[in-house]
């Protein structure tokens, strides 16, 4: 589904990613772990197409297409979804309006008709119930005045409504208490599907207690320094990142 080859990225003259190689197949869950400043968030932004990053080398293909040639919206239409570390507030625009605009944007691109308003609302409401979100959130402005946990739940709600094929979750566990973490993880687990892949970007192992990854990659100094199965995350929990960073330096 996704193939990253020798990706080099520079931001404001500084090399952040220095040769990333990663292949992700449908149905897989990959965790990207690493210390602060290792380039984890940069990688998620690159996948979503954010401006301000200079790609100096390498390529990314998504479903056989050149992802780097696609605009932000085109990537969303093609099935890329980024759950933001810091979801953005959009004053005056209700959650339901934005959800509908987004879903219809995607459906229009696929040549599908717009959803019937009643069916749409009913489907959104049932998804909110799963995430333990009050229906009143539909009519509140997007993320405005939401608590950290509410914002993260709202990201998962958007993800479940838009049904992307590649879900990139950037530090979704940050700022969540244990109950919220469980609700959000359950929401993500419900979306696991043979046709869908996940990239979980996280600093801590605790998210992986709830969402079991198929692969764990450690990112340090702009490179993947180690890859393994779910057990690698536990090793990191015990030993921290420094042994890997040192290894890379040697």
């Amino acid at each position: 589904m996704l193939k990253i080859e020798n990706l080099h990225v520079r931001v404001e003259g500084k090399d952040i990613l220095k040769g990333i190689n990663l292949e992700i197949n449908a149905g897989e869950v990959h965790a990207i772990m690493g210390p602060n400043g290792s380039g984890k968030s940069t990688l998620s932004y690159i996948l979503a197409g954010r401006e301000g990053y200079e790609i100096t080398q390498g390529s990314i293909s998504f479903h056989g297409k050149d992802l780097l040639e696609m605009s932000v919206e085109e990537r969303a239409w093609a099935g890329v979804f980024l759950a933001f570390q810091y979801p953005v507030e959009v004053p005056g625009v209700s959650n339901i309006y934005m959800l509908k605009a987004a879903l219809n944007g995607i459906r229009k691109h696929k040549g599908e008709p717009e959803l019937d308003a009643m069916d749409f609302i009913a489907s959104v409401k049932s998804k909110m119930k799963d995430l333990d979100m009050d229906e009143k959130f539909l009519y509140r402005a997007v993320n405005e005045g939401f608590s950290g946990g509410e914002k993260k739940r709202n990201e998962i709600l958007q993800m479940s409504v838009l049904e992307p094929t590649l879900c990139v979750l950037d530090e979704t566990d940050s700022g969540l208490d244990i109950d919220a973490l469980k609700i959000v993880s359950d929401g993500i687990n419900r979306l696991r599907d043979p046709a869908r892949a996940f990239v979980l970007v996280t600093h801590y192992q605790r998210l992986l207690d709830y969402i079991k990854p198929d692969f764990v990659h450690v990112l340090a100094n702009g490179k993947i320094v180690k890859s393994g199965g779910a057990e690698l995350a536990l090793e990191l929990e015990d030993q921290g990142y420094s042994w890997l960073e040192d290894k890379k330096a040697s």
Binding site: E73, P87, G92, V93, K100
Partner: protein, 482 residues
Amino acid sequence: MSASNENIKDMIGQQYKDGFVTDVESDSFAAGLNEDVIRALSAIKKEPEFLLEWRLEAYRHWLTMEHPEWAFVEFPKIDFQEISYYSAPKSMADGPQSLDEVDPKLIDTYNKLGIPLEEQMRLAGVAVDAVFDSVSVATTFKEKLYEAGVIFCSFSEAVKEHPELIKQYLGTVVSQYDNFYAALNAAVFSDGSFVYIPKGVRCPMELSTYFRINAANTGQFERTLIVAEEGSHVSYLEGCTAPMRDENQLHAAVVELVILKDAEIKYSTVQNWYPGDENGLGGIYNFVTKRAECRGDNAKVSWTQVETGSAITWKYPSVILRGDHSVGEFYSVALTNNYQQADTGTKMIHLGKNTSSTIISKGISAGHGQNTYRGLVKIGRKAENARNFTQCDSLLMGDQCGAHTFPYIETKQPSATIEHEASTSKISEDQLFYCMQRGISAEDAVSMIVNGFCKEVFKELPMEFAVEAQALLGISLEGSVG
């Protein structure tokens, strides 16, 4: 974020759609202003003596007045002798008695603007008075309104048919000496709309006036007078467009609203005069005096305006809250793009006890646009427990534009409660990226964010106008969700 700025520019920089010229023969006065011009104008309109005298008093006073320079707008000195003060399509000279007799070219003009005048074709149930240059060409649904006791007609017709009402109310809210442009308007106003809602009547339909400037080098000076008798209610809408021309044209209107005890007027404006081109050439100077007076207890007036057109907008729809418990509201969206300038706001003059006012102003500046909010909240000595809430928000797009806020507050009553909130923000890259990542195109994302910014004002507009206003800001509202 250059790409997004391009998107924003495309979105607001859409071509002015109503810039065509209607090819009709007109009877116009030669340019110039003196007492003879005013006498000739009054004679064409077969006005009673009192009105001519009133015009002349205004003119003589105007001659003694200085052009006001305090607004935060810049334009070359206007030569008032270069303007023609009257222009009417020739076909209107004999005064068509019904729509069938109106020049099809005029009807076609309004059709092009989306304002069909044929009553049987109208589904919306909105009565329209169509003002073309200096005259009213048609007023629809007159008979149906008359059954309810409502008078809705052109100002000229009201002068002929209801001179006693005109004499009683004309100039009682905005006097013929009020200010430079109001005095000029009083001297040379050519037409406009008149509305009278009798005691206890709830007007059965929305009333609307559609102003169109067509002739070149002509000023448009119309006057609107609305009287809401005790316990009555009316919702009134006005729209404005003009052809694209390289010369600036002056539009100096006066609107007077009289609201008696327990009555309510809701007055909505979507102003889309030609704004000039992207280099600031041409466009309408929109210098308007609008004022409402709540004369009785529990009277209520609400001004809602969406100002997207005009090279310069300079106006302050105001409310005099004389009756106890009377309520004044002002909701405004003003957008300035390219070299447009707007200095707009309101005045809330609290005189009665327990009066309250609300001001919500949203300024959007793009290109080299300059957007100024100027507002006065004045609480008189006897206005016990008066309350005001003001919120002024500015949204900037790009780094060449400006937003300015000048709130004035004067209070002589210690029990008054006055709140003022102000904010200035930019459409952030984060917001755009977030919306686009969800599959919303850049253009729709900008529209959605701007729409969200203006939401508190748009919700005050009648449905048809809200749609037009959103379309004007380049916003397509799919469905009515949210």
